[in-house]
């Protein structure tokens, strides 16, 4: 391979260089988890750009992972786009997330992606957490999101299903998440600038009393069952996809 061809290849904007850290070796935003900071070559989340989290969708503990970032003292707004359920304002406020700068966005696929691009590129949003809408996300869309996030100094975290790991992506950082046990999250590096894939760590997300397995007797449903017929629900049940539906990614026994 001639060196001219190599240079041409290297000068392409979509060539990803694993060792290229843009000079900022350890200038990332701390994630709030020491083990994860050690795992990431920048010492935290990148300051801006696209980050892909590949997880069994929808993954409730994912928001826990981003809570310290959302709660940080970064200027700018935080946007949660297309969440699978309603994030609880009470719990977010307790975690220190400034509610006056937090926005939640729902929308149809194309409008949602366009709005997310505008928000990321507007330089007003510091952290954007987007649950990928249904349907394929072409590399061009991801690239646009990444460039928009870089232009607008925004950390764009995209939650995608695990099957997307097989597709190439312009995101410099891709992590795989797994829930091995309640309140715990295992993070595996899929792609990282200046790092190797395959490294992993295990994070504890919930306090001890919520993680501790209940005693065996508690699994028995001896909890005051009274002989009464179960009847109508207390509220309406909304249609549409939700955490409730068995996810295609859910591990089966």
């Amino acid at each position: 391979m001639s060196s001219a061809f190599l240079q041409q290849l290297l000068s392409r904007r979509d060539t990803w260089r694993g060792r290229d850290l843009d000079g900022a070796t350890r200038g990332g935003r701390p994630t709030g988890f020491t083990a994860l900071d050690r795992l990431l070559s920048q010492g935290g989340w990148p300051t801006h750009g696209l980050v892909e989290l590949l997880c069994p969708l929808p993954c409730p503990p994912l928001l826990h992972l981003l809570l310290p970032t959302l709660a940080g003292d970064q200027p700018g707004a935080r946007l949660i786009a297309n969440p699978p359920e309603r994030p609880s304002a009470l719990a977010l406020a307790r975690a220190g997330v400034p509610l006056e700068r937090l926005l939640v966005l729902h929308g149809e696929r194309d409008g949602l992606l366009r709005a997310c691009y505008e928000a990321a590129a507007s330089d007003t949003v510091s952290t954007l957490l987007l649950w990928a809408p249904g349907g394929a996300l072409p590399a061009g869309t991801l690239r646009r999101l990444h460039l928009g996030a870089q232009q607008g100094r925004c950390l764009l975290v995209l939650a995608r299903p695990r099957r997307a790991a097989r597709q190439p992506s312009p995101a410099p950082l891709r992590l795989e998440l797994e829930c091995p046990a309640p309140g715990e999250l295992s993070v595996t590096v899929h792609k990282q600038p200046g790092g190797r894939p395959g490294e992993h760590c295990r994070l504890t997300l919930l306090p001890e009393h919520l993680r501790r397995a209940p005693p065996a007797t508690a699994t028995l449903p001896a909890l005051t069952r009274r002989p009464r017929p179960a009847s109508e629900p207390p509220g309406r049940v909304p249609p549409g996809p939700s955490l409730d539906a068995p996810g295609p990614e859910a591990p089966r026994p």
């Binding site: 359920e85 304002a89 406020a93 937090l102 507007s122 919520l210 207390p234 409730d244 026994p253």
Partner: protein
Amino acid sequence: MSALWLALHYPLLDLEAGDGPVDRPRVLVQRHRVSQANPAARAAGVETGLRLATARALCEALEVREADDDVRDQALRHQGRQLLALTPRVCLAPPASLLLEVGGCLKLFGGFQGLLARVDRYRLHCPFTTRLGLGPTPLSAWHLTDPPPLEQVPEAVRFQAWLAALPLDELDLDARLRERLQAPGLRTLGDLYPLPRPALGKRFGASFLDWLQRLLGEKPDPRSPLAPPRPFRRRRDFDDPLDNLDHLHRPMESLLAELATELDRHQESVAAIRWHLYLNNGHRDTLVVRRAHPGHDVATWLDLTRRRLEHQMLEAPVLGLGLDGGRPRSRNPALADLFPDPGARPPLSGLLEKLAAEPALRLYRPDREPGHLPEETERGHAPLERPARPAVPDTAASPEDRPLWLLDPPRPLGVRDSLPHWRDRPLTLFPQEECFSQPWHDQAARRYHVAHHPDGLCCWVFQDDRDGWWLQGFF
């Protein structure tokens, strides 16, 4: 910046209010006597105070008019609105004068000469006969008419001298008061200057003293300015019905430009505008476009309108387009930072406006609310609503665990072998329970449990009093 007032008198307004100055002799008659006569009538020898019969005898073709106060006031207001282009402080001085505070806008028109040039241009195009007055107070401007040619704003001393030369006979006072003033031998206003003010007040009345002090600028003379016409409302009809929404952009732009000119004239902004599309089938579609902060620039309004239009479906071709400006607010530009932080981010409002303009997106600002049941403690604010003070004090210290995700409403769980199941797998319940009862709400008491799911999730479930199991949230 010292105050400077202009007075515009329309001495023949009663005669001219209907159709402007005419060459025919015309008089205004009150109680069978001539009260006003136009130059043509005067040329024929008709004077004010003549009996109508005498006037008719002097001039055959005399046109006689009765005074109509409504028409006159309307004409005066109309002239006042025209003069709002010069200054926002135009005050009506009935019956036929306008007072303009121009001290604040001298710089805008390039000094005193520039301002007078603007006034002269106005007087040239004004359909009525006008006289100009100039003075440091509203009353002095009213009295000091037809000033000599001036290079710059005269000093206060010159104004005082001009006022001193005013004969008492010409003052805008009650005739009997004028007689009483002249009785001691006073002839001009200057004769009153050296007299002690308390004695003047005692002799000629407190109201006269007050008037004199306002005239001389010794007392403030507040006047309420003329309110600009409200609201902005324009409609444009098309010769050919438009069936493509893209063709609306050009007329919208021109209507917005009109609105912006109007707002610029009064130094105002609006926070919302409303478009009306008049359809061929007789219906009217209304689009409301809002902004986070009041604005007046055409480009932003047009961009937001386009976003709003993208989601609009036309039932029928558009025959006309209307624009309603919202309630105007006076502009209050914030102070710009002298040394802005280089890393500072622009305000969020620009993005909020764009996202809020798209009806297909649902954007909200999550917040807490006092409530009993978990799903009642959540609310979403509209994005353009001003963030209010937190209604609920921070309860970071309270010990109960609350899930990060809340399902509203709760989802029913399947029960198999008397165990709640989710995604067809059994939940492992924690023995501790937390009770929410709300008997007054006609709702079942709930017993909450933390439960583990084999998929590695920590759930929050409850059992109602009918033994139904419900999923409320995830930790």
